[in-house]
């Protein structure tokens, strides 16, 4: 059985934590989250079971983490489990098993939730509390865990996966420490199962971080499964799974959710297709590497160095670049833009690897220095690799600096690891027309660097605006559509009234030319296939409100709306928490509506339908596995060369996956400009040729007149 232990915490006076090590343990390593006995009573807790089941459906991942805590002492303790969540994740459910029955939590305003929790704690009854501590950390408190008793909890969180050039990446955080002073360790088994379902055919599924630990099964062209169960595997780094889908055409995908009698929700994804692959041009780059002391943590500097080296290695000879390392002050390498020759690349790589992390993070001078390389003839891309853990007071100055950037420049930010200030890095990138990327420690740096570079080289569509025609669409998130980059889909969430067909119109600019695309999209009367997008819509709204507040007058004006959204859509935020009470009566006593219980029931029904569909797909695929009948005169394709010992008649062959997908959404492909080597093409008659051809047709009729005499004969 896996056991998680922690060293005594130094930060919480009066708290006694566990610091036990299992003598002779076969393997142990750092792992996600931290389990301690809190509340001033001490105690030793272990985790008996830790499993995670992930369902990825069209790029939205639902992660269900189930854990069983065990109190190994003869006294009551309070468990405090603090865990990181991936970027952009929204905690959507927290359940505890009380007296053998699952009690789902409800979301209430944070302070009230804490008061309720404490009131139960004083009476030594069963409450559970899940709070968001900061942008990346959640804490779960469970009390009491009786002597020698077990406590089962389940946390569910939703997240949109990042897509990079048709590669979607899922990260299960294991490497991130939530509190630096405590060294948490995991021992024994860890199980992770991932079902990947996609309307777009899946080309490949792999784990860059745990290649050898994962078993991957391709059941159909649109459904694959990966599972990891290890006692000896390396859990000191994040589990990263990446899958490649082939979306050859630029276009949009729409999924909806609507309960009868209520306004609906939609998620619309705009994706640049392969036909734009030929559109690229030489660029100027200034790479800005953060070498401040915080980059020492979690191997961030090393990861940044590798990632940046991979990026520089992949530059074309036509590109020019400079590298600036910064902590308290910037230090440029070349002091000019250098052509990306092999020699320059080597110098840059040597420069990067020689850097050591120390000092503070002062970003503004580095960005100012980078702007000085602006050349009106070429677009300047400033690529910042940093954790963004800069001074809070520097934010306003950075915002102004971004606003005052040279007109021909964009700023791209790359955060490495889970311990990054995502909000700041995204703000910097979004405000400058660039984009932000986040790379996990276990990721494939070369692939990520190449994917990011492709996005920089091929700006696809700018100034985008979406019009839904007569369909009543409202509360669209984000308020302004971001630029569409190659390999970086744009997702839009919103609400709609009624139902019907929308004659939509997408307008924008591509390579300076006007782009207008029109089409039809059906918004259904009822749709129970994608309830998760309701929470995702609310989460995006909360996220935007917080970012806007941080950049303006503070959060006081938006707190009420965030609490309303959190409670209404059952999502934990910095202002709302999950509270689990003993029974329904207790919820009534506190006048807490069981909104989440209803929502969770609906979500689980939908997930069950998905699970049933996936099970059928697995069964169907399994039917085709087995011995193949002998066909004496027909060659059978085999992976193994037949020989006397391996007669072909008994050699199992892998069945070819069949596409048995059931569309749950709509897709619409666009025609965008692209080179002939791209993937979208049309037999195009240009006007000159057309006029010439038509002219020839007319002349042929006039000049070569029918010989009517012969016709009359």
């Amino acid at each position: 059985m896996p056991k998680w232990f922690s060293a005594p915490p130094k930060w919480a006076g009066g708290l006694v934590a566990m610091a036990l090590a299992v003598a002779g343990a076969s393997s142990s390593s750092r792992a996600a989250g931290l389990l301690i006995a809190d509340g001033g009573q001490g105690g030793v807790l272990t985790i008996k079971e830790h499993s995670a089941h992930v369902t990825i459906n069209n790029g939205v991942a639902v992660t269900e983490v189930t854990q069983v805590f065990v109190n190994t002492e003869d006294r009551q303790v309070e468990a405090l489990y603090t865990f990181p969540v991936p970027r952009g994740a929204s905690v959507a459910n927290f359940s505890m098993w009380i007296n053998g029955k699952e009690m789902t939590g409800e979301v209430v305003e944070k302070q009230r939730a804490r008061q309720i929790y404490n009131s139960y704690k004083e009476r030594r009854r069963d409450p559970g509390l899940l709070e968001q501590v900061d942008y990346r950390t959640f804490e779960m408190r469970v009390f009491p865990i009786a002597p020698r008793a077990e406590q089962k909890v389940q946390v569910t969180y939703y997240q949109e996966l990042d897509f990079d050039h048709d590669w979607a990446t899922y990260v299960y955080p294991l490497a991130t420490q939530t509190r630096k002073s405590i060294d948490s360790k995991a021992d024994g088994k860890f199980a992770l199962t991932v079902d990947v379902k996609s309307e777009i055919p899946i080309v490949e599924l792999k784990s860059p971080s745990h290649t050898k630990d994962f078993a991957i099964a391709q059941h159909t062209a649109t459904y694959e499964q990966a599972s990891l169960e290890t006692k000896t595997g390396d859990l000191s780094k994040d589990v990263v799974l990446a899958y490649h889908v082939s979306r050859p055409h630029t276009g949009i995908d729409l999924i909806t959710s609507k309960q009868k009698g209520e306004d609906g929700y939609f998620s619309l994804t705009l994706t640049a297709g392969e036909e734009l692959a030929a559109m690229k041009s030489a660029m100027d780059y200034v790479f800005v590497l953060d070498i401040s002391g915080s980059m020492n943590d979690d191997g961030k500097l090393e990861s940044s160095q590798k990632s940046l080296s991979a990026f520089i290695t992949s530059l074309s000879p036509d590109d020019r670049f400079e590298v600036i390392a910064f902590n308290n002050q910037p230090r440029p390498l070349f002091k000019q833009l250098m052509a990306a020759t092999d020699d320059a690349k080597k110098q840059a790589t040597d420069f990067l690897t020689s850097q050591e992390a120390r000092g503070g993070t002062i970003l503004a001078p580095a960005i100012t220095a980078a702007y000085k390389y602006d050349d009106a003839a070429k677009p300047l891309n400033v690529v910042i690799m940093s954790d963004g853990l800069t001074e809070q007071g520097e934010r306003a100055g950075l915002a102004k600096l971004i606003a005052d950037r040279p007109g021909n420049s964009r700023v791209f930010t790359v955060g490495v690891g889970n311990d990054v200030n995502r909000g700041l890095l995204e703000s910097i990138a979004n405000d400058s027309g660039g984009l932000a990327a986040f790379i996990s420690r276990g990721d494939d740096f070369t692939r990520q660097a190449q994917a990011f570079q492709r996005k920089l080289q091929r700006p696809v569509a700018t100034d985008l605006a979406l019009d839904f025609g007569d369909m009543k669409v409202y509360d669209v998130e984000p308020l302004k559509m971001p630029n569409l980059f190659h390999g970086q889909p744009v997702r839009v969430y919103g609400r709609y009234k009624g139902d019907g067909t929308s004659n939509f119109k997408l307008a924008g600019k591509v390579m300076g030319h006007d782009l207008v695309q029109k089409g039809e999209l059906a918004f259904p009367k009822a749709d129970d296939a994608n309830p998760e997008i309701e929470r995702m819509w609310a989460w995006h709204r909360v996220d935007r409100l917080l970012k806007e507040a941080d950049n303006t007058n503070g959060r006081s004006d938006v707190t009420g709306e965030i609490v309303r959204l959190g409670e209404g859509y059952s999502i934990a935020t910095e202002y709302t928490s999950f509270i689990v009470l003993e029974n329904d009566g207790e919820y009534q006593r506190w006048k807490i509506d069981r909104k989440n219980a209803l929502r969770t029931e609906r979500d689980r029904a939908s997930q069950q339908r998905t699970a049933d569909t996936l099970a059928k797909l697995r069964e169907k695929a399994a039917v085709a596995i087995g011995p193949v009948e002998a066909t004496p005169n027909k060659q059978i394709a085999m992976d193994v060369v037949p020989n006397a010992a391996q007669p072909s008649v008994s050699t199992p062959v892998q069945p070819k996956p069949t596409d048995t997908r059931r569309p749950t959404g709509q897709s619409y492909d666009f025609s965008l400009p692209g080179g002939s080597s791209g993937s979208g093409g049309g037999g195009a008659i240009d006007p000159v040729t057309a006029i010439f051809a038509i002219g020839m047709a007319v002349v042929s009729i006039v000049v070569f007149k029918p010989r009517r005499a012969e016709g009359r004969s």
């Binding site: 619409y668 492909d669 093409g681 009729i701 000049v703 016709g711």
Partner: protein, 222 residues
């Protein structure tokens, strides 16, 4: 030199039959343009064709990427289709059917990076090549040297343009980055070859008819 046989049919019905494939294709293209979702489900889509939607190989021709694309393709199809059907309706049928089949198949096999394809221009090219070859033949037989030169120049220009596009991957007369046209030179080249093949069919395979409906097997002989 005098012609040995009638160059054009005089039967309206037979002219109509000769022009029928062009008219049908043009009508389908114009009608389906009103339903973008239908166009999407008919277009050449490599992934879906390989998944079993083979009907896209034939239907892709009547789908278009936009009004400009549609208008020029259909205008040329109607012009060349009508003219070619007046010259030789049967060979017009052959050129259209042959190019309809050959273009998507060769794109599927020969241009694996191309995921989607729409348009009638490959068929237009087949008709252009067919008509040009027929007119060139007839001009030479009629002794109309000037006409033969003009047609020959037009044919050479067309071959040169198609060859340039095929070899360079770029359009000659339009800015492909403007988004109006995304050319597939392979389709044009294949279409042109189909037109030439149709024009070279043995005598008698054409439907150049006289007024009493008898096939004139010696239309181009001599």
């Amino acid at each position: 030199m005098r012609p040995h046989a009638p160059m054009f049919t005089t039967s309206t019905a037979r002219r109509f039959i000769g022009a029928l494939p062009s008219l049908l294709l043009a009508a389908m293209a114009l009608v389906i343009a009103r339903w973008p979702a239908m166009e999407q489900s008919w277009q050449f889509d490599r992934t879906r064709i390989l998944a079993g939607q083979w009907y896209r190989l034939l239907l892709c021709h009547v789908t278009h990427f936009g009004v400009s694309h549609l208008v020029w393709d259909v205008a040329v199809l109607l012009g060349l289709g009508s003219a070619a059907s007046l010259v030789d309706g049967k060979k017009t049928w052959v050129a259209i059917l042959l190019s309809m089949a050959a273009i998507p198949i060769l794109i599927l096999v020969g241009q694996p990076s191309l995921q989607t394809y729409r348009g009638l221009s490959g068929i237009d090219c087949a008709l252009f090549a067919l008509l040009a070859m027929l007119l060139l033949d007839q001009s030479l037989r009629d002794g109309r040297r000037m006409a033969a030169r003009i047609v020959g120049l037009g044919l050479i220009g067309f071959i040169a343009k198609t060859g340039y596009e095929f070899l360079t991957g770029h359009t000659l007369f339009v800015d492909q980055s403007a988004g109006a046209f995304v050319p597939v030179p392979l389709a044009h080249a294949v279409g042109a070859v189909c037109g030439v093949i149709a024009s070279r069919l043995p005598h008698g395979s054409g439907i150049s008819l006289n007024s009493n409906g008898t096939a004139t097997s010696c239309v181009f002989s001599g």
